[in-house]
């Protein structure tokens, strides 16, 4: 008796919205079990991991700082994925944004004016867009799989950054360490409050604008139609190549902005490692946020919490640092599982006819 996934006739909107909540609840339960196995009081473990970081002003600030790049990238990816355009290379676009924006203070260290910062941000956006344009062009011109090309360009960008900070852009006073000079003054983003920098505002504004575009404007409709029913879109006169290019430029530009805001604030210089994988984690953010820009804000905060909680668990509970990765993985697994079960249901096939088994589309 083979087990098959069968498409449900009706799609429940309520369940689609509840799915991330169920996924989070299941993650918490699994987490509690994990804690118990390690001999830690599960309630105390969950408290340290998911609640304690929210009880202190300092860690709430850190949470927002951490969520900033995740949300900035995540909202762009949400739009992309809605259009059925698979930009997996946000990490590379993030890196190129950091390189292009970081070029200004590295090459003109003495230039200090508000214009410095504005130029850095614009260069950062341009860097991310330019890098994203490559897989988009390959897709529209040669129909090359954008999942592969965008992903491979991540490594190219990282190696370029690596070469720059080890070679031509190295700090001349830095004893050959692979780092550029540290940024200062107008080469850094102004602070909003405590350790929260201007980037948080960028993330919020980007999410609000995209939410409006997606819900109320023709462009948003075009993107959704292009994703759900490309043929219908073509009949309506929407150009698929233009949608692909638009989505890549948008998500690439936002990832580039995230890159330059991160190096112009938290990192304050260019170095081989500028991101613990924000561009990849943002993929989880986009899905956890239901591919909705507002949802991405909450999802970004949730994943930022999983990073902070992972640190707290190490310090207070003596757990391995891998715990944060485990929680992120479990969370993504449950979201995908819940989503699958909303669209499909399990059915036991009683007959031996297997030719009717439909692959999951």
């Amino acid at each position: 008796m083979p087990l098959v996934l069968e498409k449900r006739a009706e799609r429940s909107t309520r369940m689609a919205l509840l799915s991330p909540v169920i996924a989070i609840a299941l993650t918490l339960i699994t987490g509690a079990v994990l804690f118990a196995i390690r001999g830690i009081d599960p309630l105390h473990g969950l408290y340290v991991y998911f609640v304690e970081p929210l009880t202190l002003m300092w860690s709430v600030e850190q949470l927002i700082v951490k969520a900033t790049p995740l949300v900035l990238i995540g909202v762009g990816l949400a739009v992309c994925y809605t259009a059925n355009v698979w930009n997996i290379g946000a990490e590379g676009q993030f890196t190129m944004g950091a390189i292009f924006g970081g070029m200004i203070p590295v090459l003109f260290p003495a230039w200090q004016s508000p214009l410095t910062l504005i130029t850095m941000l614009l260069f950062g956006i341009a860097g991310g867009m330019g890098w994203a344009a490559i897989p988009a062009w390959l897709k529209t011109r040669f129909n090359a799989n954008e999942i592969l090309t965008s992903l491979m360009l991540v490594y190219v960008a990282q190696l370029l950054l690596d070469w720059l900070v080890r070679g031509p852009w190295r700090d001349p006073q830095g004893f050959n360490f692979p780092k550029t000079i540290t940024f200062d003054g107008w080469q850094l983003l102004p602070m909003l409050s405590g350790s929260i920098h201007l980037g948080a505002l960028f993330a919020l504004v980007a999410a609000l604008i995209l939410a409006f575009v997606m819900a109320r404007m023709l462009k948003g409709f075009e993107i959704r139609v292009s994703g759900n029913a490309p043929r219908a879109g073509r009949f309506a006169g929407f150009s698929r190549p233009r949608t692909i290019m638009f989505c890549f430029l948008l998500s690439g530009g936002l990832a580039g902005l995230a890159g330059i805001t991160e190096v112009a604030s938290v990192v304050a210089q260019l170095q081989p490692q500028i991101s613990p994988g924000y561009g990849f984690t943002a993929i989880i953010v986009a899905f956890l946020g239901r591919l909705n820009p507002i949802g991405a804000i909450f999802a970004g905060l949730m994943l930022a919490l999983s990073y902070l909680g992972g640190e707290a668990a190490q310090v207070s509970l003596g757990l391995s640092d891998r715990i944060a990765k485990v929680f992120q993985g479990i969370l993504l697994f449950y979201i995908l599982a819940c989503d699958t079960l909303i669209l499909y249901r399990f059915r036991w096939l009683k007959t031996q006819v297997s030719a009717t088994v439909q692959p999951a589309e």
């Binding site: 210089q269 490692q273 310090v315």
Partner: protein, 356 residues
């Protein structure tokens, strides 16, 4: 939950139920921040051994905490978390933690910070490092004695002065035995990457090297040597378990005495900001047991180690001929600490270029 436990502990003290729980509340918190995993069997592993030594020796007065695998970009928050969690002294054990350590130290003037391998101090920030190049001189001599092809392979991470000084000390040691000794260098731009390290070792062996030297932290190069019946040296910790037939010796970083001393200083209130650079004389660097070697080589290596320990021998004794033919240092006198800590040139005989 935390409050509940605190009040329970306070209650226990108030009732005079247990003296132990009272002292548990007053324990000094000493904390470590690691760039790698404590199971790397190299750099971070040895720092963690130092932490365990502190726990063993001062365990009744000190509680230790560590955070591992901290990316440089995330380190400022991790350091601040430790400071906020009541750590009295925080050891940040990677060069990349330098700026974040200084930033957090400014915010927490009462917490003591100790940054490994950096060069910036502050009233509450100390730097500490070890003279690893002393061990490299010893293995240079062993390599030159044991190599049949007269060529060693050398796997390195980043061209920082510490690494450059290591290559130079190795070559000077080797040249003291065989003036024509050669070394082939591969930069892998990472401190810990078993895959890349193993690949580099395979390439170097196939290019004629028969001894492997590494300034990276995984056991992979030694394991390749073991598989191919070649030899090599362990890095940071004794890696004999991974290469019982291949390892001649290892340069061991022993941070335990330093950590115990510094935490004691905090307990006694005598902690001061300083820059510490200990070597074989202080026991911070030592060679693991010499294995797979004939007696005369063991004797030579032991004598060299003793001479360095007693100060009779200094790996960088002038005059030293640089790659470009110029010389540095006065005859019979060791180079100054500054020259070694900022070393940016190769000695004659190294067939590689420093990225300028």
């Amino acid at each position: 939950m935390k409050k509940l436990m605190m009040s329970a502990a306070v209650l226990a003290v108030a009732l005079g139920m247990s003296a132990a729980s009272a002292s548990a509340q007053e324990k000094l918190k000493a904390c470590w921040l690691y760039v790698g995993a404590i199971g790397d069997f190299g750099w971070t592993y040895q720092h963690n051994q130092g932490r365990l030594a502190v726990e063993k020796e001062l365990g009744d007065k000190v509680q230790t905490v560590f955070v591992e695998n901290v990316p440089e970009a995330d380190s400022e928050r991790a350091i601040e978390r430790l400071a906020r969690d009541g750590c009295a002294i925080i050891f940040t054990t990677s060069f990349g933690f330098m700026e974040p350590t200084l930033k957090v130290a400014k915010k927490f003037p009462d917490v003591k910070f100790e940054h490994a391998t950096g060069f910036k101090t502050a009233p509450n920030v100390t730097t500490y490092n070890a003279k690893f190049h002393e061990g490299r001189y010893v293995i240079g001599q062993i390599a030159a004695k044991m190599s049949k092809s007269g060529v060693a392979g050398y796997i390195v991470s980043v061209p920082i002065p510490e690494v450059v000084a290591g290559i130079n000390a190795f070559m000077l040691g080797a040249q003291s035995v065989n003036p024509d000794f050669k070394v082939k260098i591969v930069w892998i731009n990472s401190w810990y990457d078993p895959g890349k390290e193993a690949d580099a070792a395979k390439v170097l062996f196939s290019q004629g090297a028969d001894i492997m030297v590494q300034h990276t932290d995984s056991t992979a190069p030694l394991q390749v040597a073991e598989e191919q019946g070649k030899h090599g040296f362990g890095q940071a910790s004794d890696m004999i378990k991974f290469a019982p037939k291949a390892q001649y010796t290892a340069i061991v970083d022993n941070w335990a005495p330093y950590y115990v001393r510094r935490v004691k200083d905090v307990l006694d209130g005598t902690w001061k900001s300083q820059s510490s650079w200990d070597g074989m004389a202080e026991g911070t660097v030592h060679m693991s047991p010499l294995t797979n070697l004939p007696d005369d080589v063991v004797k030579m290596a032991t004598e060299t180690e003793d001479a360095i320990k007693s100060g009779k021998l200094h790996p960088f004794t002038g005059p030293i001929t640089k790659q470009d033919g110029s010389t540095i240092g006065e005859a019979g006198k060791p180079l100054g600490d500054g020259d070694i800590l900022g070393m940016n040139w190769f000695v004659k005989g190294v067939d590689d270029k420093l990225p300028q």
